[in-house]
Symmetry: C2
Subunit: 196 residues, 2 copies
DNA sequence: CCTACCGATCGGTAGG
DNA sequence: CCTACCGATCGGTAGG
């Protein structure tokens, strides 16, 4: 089939995601990934050029997923008040994590094992992503909807709390993704709203 | 000197903490730790029984540090309203991280590389620690100081946000530990307080 | 996708 | 704390 090669590549990335999520990148060997696919370690190199290359594909795809989700959330709430815009960003982030926790957790935790230039490129994208949260916080402070705070610190506080989900979320856990998204959007908004 | 042996052991743990913080436990070799102390890899084994043993000492000490800090914070605010008790717990946690970010970051990120029984023991202590936060949240909901929320989810949200500090805190950063503690205590409290 | 193999490095031990 | 060394495993290549 014409789609075999790309789907095989994707199967490798999925198996690697699961293992990187569970044990971390350095503790996962090329042979571990191959074993999950019932092939030999050396056979992986017919589809990938290096172990780091697999990590990069996963991290890059995860970054794009978060960026697209945030784009959609921002577009849908562009004319709404800051609290709603923040709530939409939080929901989009939580839903992206819940949709593929292994992908998200590799993105959140394993990027530091990338080569220096790829690491730098991811750090820049992360900062731009965090900037979306900072901008909404600044806007909310300007309208008086949000109390006065350090926007950078508040954005880091909230995003770190959200990212923790990638570590502990289980599809069959006590709370559904929707309920977690509801709660987290509420908690994040409360974190900033002016008390009155 | 009589204190040489224990201080040497501690020097090993400190060098290991710095490396585990920077690269993670699996990506740090015994020879890396030895090199930081200007000795040979094999010489380390005069002071430690295994690499995992070093990780355990660090994680166990970090856990005790957090527990003692929380004990002191709880004792000092036992008769105060829930918001103040929460604020004290948050400050204690942030200050413990800032006092030794490498120790804290190994505790937060590397415990999963411990053996099964040690991992279990740390997970239990973490849950008990998180329970202190849950209890204050429940108490605040009971008095009406805090709005209605899922105490477990809120505790996880806040503690995850705080733990992120271990990853990015730098003593020479833009904000002092005191200012971060102030802000984080404020953000955590706002996250829960009923709007009025 | 396989077998066979490479040099490098791993955590750890023996024996001073 | 050292030298010398162990078996196991690492990421990756050659050549089908």
């Amino acid at each position: 089939m014409a789609i075999e090669a790309p789907s095989r590549r994707r199967a490798i990335e999925d198996a690697a995601s699961a293992l990187f999520h569970e044990r971390g990148y350095p503790a996962t060997s090329v042979r571990d990934i191959a074993r999950a696919l019932d092939i030999r370690g050396a056979s992986l190199y017919a589809h990938v050029t290096s172990k780091e290359d697999v990590l990069w594909s996963i991290v890059d795809r995860a970054a794009s997923t978060f960026e697209r989700a945030a784009d959609a959330a921002a577009a849908a709430t562009a004319q709404r008040p800051p609290a709603e815009r923040l709530s939409a960003l939080v929901r989009a982030h939580v839903e992206a994590i819940a949709a593929d926790p292994e992908l998200a957790s590799v993105f959140v935790s394993e990027w530091r094992h990338l080569s220096a230039d790829r690491k730098m490129s991811i750090l820049e994208r992360r900062d731009a992503y965090e900037g979306r949260f900072r901008e909404v916080i600044v806007a909310g402070m300007a309208t008086g909807d949000f109390g006065s705070t350090d926007p950078g610190l508040a954005a880091t506080f909230i995003l770190t709390a959200l990212n923790g989900l990638a570590t502990w979320y289980r599809p069959d856990g006590r709370l559904t993704a929707q309920r977690i998204a509801d709660h987290y959007a509420d908690l994040a908004t409360r974190t900033l709203e002016e008390h009155r």
